[in-house]
Amino acid sequence: MSLSTILENFAHPATLFFFLGMLAVIVKSDLEIPPQIAKFLSIYLLFDIGIKGGEELFHSGFNSQVLTVILVCVSASFLVPFAMYYILNRKLSVYDAGAVAATYGSISAVTFATATAFLEGQNEPFGGYMVAGMALMESPAIIAGLILIRLNNKTDESETRSGNFNHILRESFFNGSVLLLVGSLVIGYVAGETGEKELKPFVNEIFFGMLSLYMLDMGLLAGRRIRELRKAGAFVVSFAALFPPAIAVLGIALSYALGYSAGDALLQTILLASASYIAVPAAMRMAVPQANMSILLPMALGVTFTFNIALGIPLYYFIIQIFW
């Protein structure tokens, strides 16, 4: 049963296209997704996830379960960076540790989308309000990262950039990804049944195809980063590989304690165990130009993302099935 669950994950085109992308890097193919198309796929994905979540919220309403999820997500994305910073700071500079900590406090929307596709394949129901939780996990992580760097940075350089703090704060709430995701969520909610009817084919039916192309690009990106891992060093690679399973155990336990359904538990676990490689690195790059972003992508994309897509999702689900 366990093996078959894990193998079923590989029957999803999206997962397979991820490996095709990796293969393309290994065989040095010139296969590539043009940058504006990649951006379009990413816009589609955020639009899609947001609308679907909003529609579900429209049906479920803001019940106590929704509020619990939101509370867990916001606190976790704020607290995880604090916990991780002190591990990371053992080997990394203040700037790098802060940037990486923020990254791991936040989430990967496509890992979330892949997990929802996996659950649909398993006929396992889940609450659309999980998206609301996800949408609220980027800003706190960015703010936590900034506070950590502030607190720990003794040089006066940070002083000179202090005028910048508000600027970065606004960026944490209004950067393109966050705004599109939150905006789509709200629109999905407000547009209610009219919106649901109009957008169904765009949002539900072509979703798996678009996700497959997106994952093809993710495979290309992750493949290139894996080649850069040698430079990144054993410490960060270990961190990136151990973070998902370690935090997932916590996530599953917490979901169990809070009485989540099995589907919600998997999504909550994925939110905790995944790391941001779009919004948070972009915001941290702006806020902390001194951070060496070249270790961030190999970690978040090359290791953590790959782990979650290939093993994490079915593994977490397998564990959840044992306890639920």
């Binding site: 796929l41 990413s42 690009d217 990106l221 850069e228 690195p281 790059r285 972003m293």
Partner: protein, 99 residues
């Protein structure tokens, strides 16, 4: 009136800031091009991947009088160096219509 061309390579995340800095120096015209691939010693290969905003760079250039040019370079040097950017100055023989 001797003119110079200042070309700056900068991560897209800092483009907006750079333009504000340029305008703060009294620059009234600039042009920005997308870089689709590049390499340097500080941050290695940059492939301008659409999904990853932090891997994208731009080339901004402005044509200015030599005098202003010197001030601009001096003021921008720390800004650019801190962000791993590049600045190149070349001589312009003649120009029409620039701001």
């Amino acid at each position: 009136m001797k003119l110079q061309k200042i070309e700056i390579i900068i991560a897209n995340s800092f483009l907006q800031d750079l333009i504000q800095q340029l305008e703060g120096c009294g620059i009234h015209g600039y042009t920005a091009l997308e870089i689709f691939r590049g390499k340097g010693t500080q941050r290695g290969e940059q492939l301008s991947e659409g999904l990853l905003p932090i891997t994208r760079n731009s080339l901004v250039f402005t044509i200015t009088e030599e005098k202003l040019s010197e001030q601009v370079i001096q003021k921008l040097d720390p800004f650019i160096s801190e962000r791993g950017g590049v600045l190149i100055v070349t001589e312009v023989t003649h120009a029409i219509g620039i701001s």
